[in-house]
């Protein structure tokens, strides 16, 4: 028994490493005396350990899927790839927080600690194999997120963001828990594998209860990945939070929530029953609304952070189309989208962060005439914006192409048209920003920008995958394809 448990732990090394990292960071932070000198060491330590977790994660990619801890956790290629994306996102956010002026200097180590904590929750969600683990994951991820969003503590917007996030998040987690308990009451189990066969024999009132409970459960996940109509908190929280936090929020919790959505959908809705058909219909409508609301609202924004927030809603609407098709290529498309979205989002936030630190605001105007002040960064930012809109030869195009491809394979032409029109809308607002950057005359006062050599190197390094995945994307497609073959 004990031996078995230790055997399982070998699959759980990445999570354990993160837990150790979080605790040691807490201790290290508390014992730091010289504020400025040691802070860099803390960053180096956090990023190094996160980097090291990639090694066991990559090893797990190749292993056969296993259920560990009495079926509570699944370690398979899918969850592992999602974890890799999340670890990279966390590393990126922590590195960004180092130079960001949006987080007060004495709170920077706290940011790293909490980011690692959220990451642990996200990893739990990605591997969750029963309802309880899902709930645990959601809560671990959320509670620290509430604090993170109010890190800029003497600004009212940040406090508002934290409050709003906590209220919405708490409510949605409660609703989800309510749904989970009803599911348990009706089906008599919280294990995914045991729940599915029991679903088939349901009739009448019990089926209705199960349906309502499922809806409640999805409300919880919908809030986390900000699907329409549960997206209202997103812009305010994104705008109020410090930029590194916003960058972090738009990657890690989103990927974790999507992973859960994928796994739960695949457990329950693969039999072609009436339940599945109505769920597909519902998800198609939600996807169309999420995309459209996100993109149309993004047009009118004047703050770059809000723009990226609304556009991230649009991207999630696009990504969940990969869930709706309920097949392996759909998951493959989501994973590729996630990988490509990770790099694009990080670059967009890096550059926005440096500029808003410079000018103390994040309106479009800070991008004015960037091409004359810093041509390389302007070209990279413009390319990333075009990539986000889905223009070749960048990775965003391939990501969108894959989504189109899986949707059309299922012959959902209506939603394909909606997605196409949404691409045009998103191009419009991304181009508005690109236009200001490239065509706008800078206001004459040429200030030196805060792009240090290190930061520039990181941005360029992040930009390489955006281009490479747009041209030679086969390897990553194969990788995501392998990760999408998971047991049901």
């Amino acid at each position: 028994m004990l031996q078995e448990l230790f055997g399982y732990l070998s699959y759980y090394i990445p999570e354990l490493m993160c837990i150790v990292l979080m605790t040691t960071l807490l201790v290290a932070e508390a014992s730091v005396k010289d504020e400025h000198g040691s802070r860099d060491k803390i960053y180096a330590y956090a990023i190094a350990v996160l980097g090291l977790t990639l090694i066991p994660l990559c090893q797990n990619m190749g292993k056969n899927p296993v259920h560990i801890f009495h079926n509570a956790i699944t370690i398979d290629a899918f969850s592992t790839l999602v974890k890799i994306i999340m670890v990279l996102g966390t590393m990126g956010a922590i590195w960004l927080s180092r130079s960001s002026r949006d987080i007060y200097t004495n709170l920077k180590s706290e940011f790293a600690i909490m980011a690692v904590g959220v990451l642990i929750g996200g990893m739990l969600l990605a591997s969750a194999n029963n309802m309880l683990t899902v709930y645990l994951g959601i809560e671990t991820l959320s509670i620290l997120s509430y604090v993170m969003s109010s890190l800029k503590r003497d600004e009212s917007t940040s406090t508002e963001a934290g409050m709003k996030y906590a209220l919405y998040g708490g409510l949605s987690a409660g609703v989800a828990l309510f749904g989970i308990s009803h599911l348990y009451g009706t089906l008599g189990s919280i294990q995914f594998v045991e729940m599915m066969p029991k679903l088939a024999g349901l009739e009448g009132g019990r089926l209705a209860i199960v349906l309502i409970s499922f809806l409640m459960f999805f409300v919880g996940i919908g809030y986390k990945i900000s699907l329409f109509p549960f997206h209202m908190w997103t812009p305010d929280v994104y705008q109020g939070s410090p930029i590194p936090v916003t960058a972090f929020f738009s990657i890690v919790p989103k990927m974790a929530g999507l992973a859960t959505l994928v796994r739960v959908s695949f457990v329950f809705f693969t039999d072609g029953s009436a339940l599945t058909v109505s769920w597909i219909g519902l998800m198609l409508v939600i996807s169309a609304m999420t995309m459209t609301v996100g993109n149309v609202t993004a047009i009118g924004q004047s703050s770059v952070k809000r723009l990226l927030a609304f556009s991230s809603i649009g991207h999630v609407g696009m990504m969940i189309l990969g869930v709706v098709v309920l097949n392996e290529v759909g998951v493959q498309a989501i994973l590729f989208y996630g990988i490509s979205y990770l790099f694009m989002t990080l670059i967009a936030f890096y550059i926005t962060s440096h500029l808003s630190d410079m000018y103390g605001t994040d309106t479009y105007d800070v991008f004015k005439g960037l091409i004359y002040k810093h041509p390389v960064m302007a070209i990279i930012m413009a390319s990333v914006l075009f990539s986000l809109a889905g223009m070749p030869p960048f990775s965003g195009f391939i990501a969108k192409f894959n989504i189109f491809s899986v949707v059309i394979e299922k012959k959902y032409y209506g939603i394909a048209i909606v997605a196409a029109v949404n691409s045009v809308i998103s191009l419009y607002y991304y181009m508005k920003l690109a236009k200001i950057m490239v065509f706008g005359k800078s206001d004459g006062e040429e200030r030196v920008l805060g792009f240090t050599f290190q930061n520039q190197a990181v941005i360029v390094a992040l930009f390489i995958p955006v281009v490479v995945l747009g041209i030679f994307w086969e390897q990553v497609m194969v990788l995501s394809g392998n990760a999408s073959v998971f047991i049901k």
Binding site: F401, K411, Y413, V424, E474, G481
Partner: protein, 506 residues
């Protein structure tokens, strides 16, 4: 010889890298690098022409390597008789545009780098035989255009650049949906993205269920493709981006836009929409003809109403591309040949017009035939600028279709072709020619005759550089007007093959 297309395609990119590596403030080096690159490209296209087998209707100089093997996407290039004139036109116009852009002095490096990138992507669109590759080039082409119009354009350049970009993107995203649908309709097989293998009416019988009703696959996706290409041509009612883009773009970019980029739209019909969906093309040829006719007449009337001479020529492009659409809808040997010939001839004649307007603009800094305050913008140019006037007359008469110059032959062929199918449309379209002659001659009268405007006395006549780059276009216009067979011979076989295919479905 199989690698020659690769050389033509990638040479401009090599040139672009060369331009970017040139140190700052060496503007003349940048210009020379660009000029040499475009010159070598032009020579290579001549070599291509020499080695071209005019008897062969299919693809020549094919080059194919796998790109994304999992999806059967290939890097597949090749040309046929329809592509070759476009290739030559592209190489020629970029060479000339480099010379005409010699006076650009705002951010020279960026300008020429983007110009070379644009040339490469346009070649890519013409050479691609893989649908995915085609789409990538079709879209990437927008990026250099966006910046060329947006940074180096006129006063209202931002609006024009965004409008141009969004319109084309809107059309092409529908094309993307069509491409993916074709991929699955062919069962994800080896040839799913192979444009040539998709041709020949393979989808005539295929049907789809959409919202409970049965729809023909071919008819539905013909319109998806139509949307993608019609925006580019542009066919009425998708033409509204064109006047803005033309008026705001710098001279060389206007030339490229009217000379080559518009042809990509009609080329798309010839290479993709018609051969892949022949039955739908035949069935809807009347609609295409009517839209073409509206473009001809409406474009001509719009041109007549313009006070800005560049806008006038821009609208005349709408009108002339309408003739190409008419020729395509005829689906006869004469009509199709006329259409392809018109694509080439419009490329040369309209390039002349835009270049000449650019030359004048450099002297006058305005383009008003009649200024907004009602006074004459120009007058008596014929006496002050004799050389300029001679070249202008050649370009203008080629544009309005005077017999003996290039425009006449292609328009005559189009009318010959379409008369066999749509008699009424032919008769109305002839009126379009008349209006065309009217607005061009009226413009000429107002600008070149009459009292000499005092401002115009100080203008210098064309200098040696300007004469040098106008000469090749004059030669094209005159020689192909009298002796079009070098072009017709090249395209004959390929066009014949397409017409035979379409005939099977009518």
């Amino acid at each position: 010889m199989n690698g020659i297309l690769n050389w033509i395609l990638w040479l401009p990119i090599i040139g672009m890298v060369g331009v970017l590596l040139t140190p700052k403030a060496k503007d003349n080096v940048v210009r020379m690098v660009t000029l040499v690159t475009t010159a070598i490209t032009l020579i290579l296209t001549v070599v291509l022409y020499m080695n071209f087998d005019t008897a062969e209707p299919g693809i020549q100089f094919a080059f194919k390597v796998p790109w994304i093997a999992q999806f059967h996407i290939n890097y597949s290039l090749g040309i046929d008789g329809i592509t070759l004139p476009m290739t030559f036109l592209n190489a020629l116009l970029f060479f000339i545009c480099t010379l005409s852009s010699w006076t650009v002095d705002k951010n020279v490096k960026g300008y020429f780098a983007l110009l070379l990138m644009l040339q490469s992507t346009v070649f890519g669109v013409f050479f691609s035989l893989d649908f995915f590759l085609f789409y990538v080039y079709w879209e990437v082409m927008l990026l250099p255009m966006f910046f060329l119009i947006g940074v180096w354009g006129g006063e209202n350049r931002e609006y024009a650049a965004i409008k141009f970009f969004l319109y084309t993107f809107f059309g092409s995203i529908f094309m993307l949906v069509g491409i993916v649908a074709l991929y699955y309709a062919t069962g994800k097989s080896e040839d799913s993205f192979n444009i040539i293998a998709l041709q020949g009416g393979r989808f005539t019988e295929l049907t789809l269920d959409i919202f409970g009703s049965t729809v023909s696959f071919e008819k539905l996706f013909f319109w998806f493709m139509f949307l993608g290409f019609a925006v580019k041509v542009p066919v009425f009612p998708f033409h509204t981006w064109l006047p803005h883009a033309h008026v705001q773009a710098p001279t060389a970019v206007s030339v490229i836009l009217a000379g080559v980029l518009l042809k990509m739209g009609t080329y798309g019909f010839l290479r993709i929409a018609f051969p892949i969906f022949p039955a739908a093309a035949v069935e809807y040829s009347t609609i295409i003809a009517v839209l073409g006719l509206i473009s001809v007449i409406y474009g001509a009337f719009c041109a007549m109403a313009q006070d800005d001479v560049k806008k006038l020529v821009a609208y005349s492009s709408v009108s002339h591309m309408g003739f190409v659409m008419l020729g395509l809808s005829a689906m006869t040997i004469q009509g199709m040949n006329g259409a392809v010939l018109q694509m080439f001839n419009h490329g040369t004649s309209t390039a002349m017009m835009f270049l000449l307007i650019g030359i004048l603009y450099e002297r006058s800094h305005h383009r008003w035939i009649v200024k907004p305050d009602g006074s004459k913008g120009f007058g008596g140019l014929y006496t002050t600028l004799p050389k300029y006037s001679v070249v202008f007359i050649i370009g203008m008469f080629a544009s309005l279709g005077l017999p003996g110059l290039s425009g006449f032959i292609s328009e005559a062929l189009i009318f010959l072709g379409i008369y066999q199918r749509f008699t009424t449309i032919t008769v109305i379209a002839v009126v379009g020619l008349l209006i065309g002659a009217a607005y061009l001659l009226w413009m000429f009268k107002r600008m070149f005759f009459g009292e000499v405007n005092p401002e115009c006395e100080e203008y210098e006549d064309m200098n040696a550089r300007e004469i040098f780059y106008m000469v090749p276009l004059c030669i094209c216009v005159v020689v192909f007007g009298i002796f079009p067979s070098p072009l017709l011979n090249v395209m004959k076989a390929s066009v014949g093959q397409l017409v035979d295919l379409l005939a099977k479905f009518s």
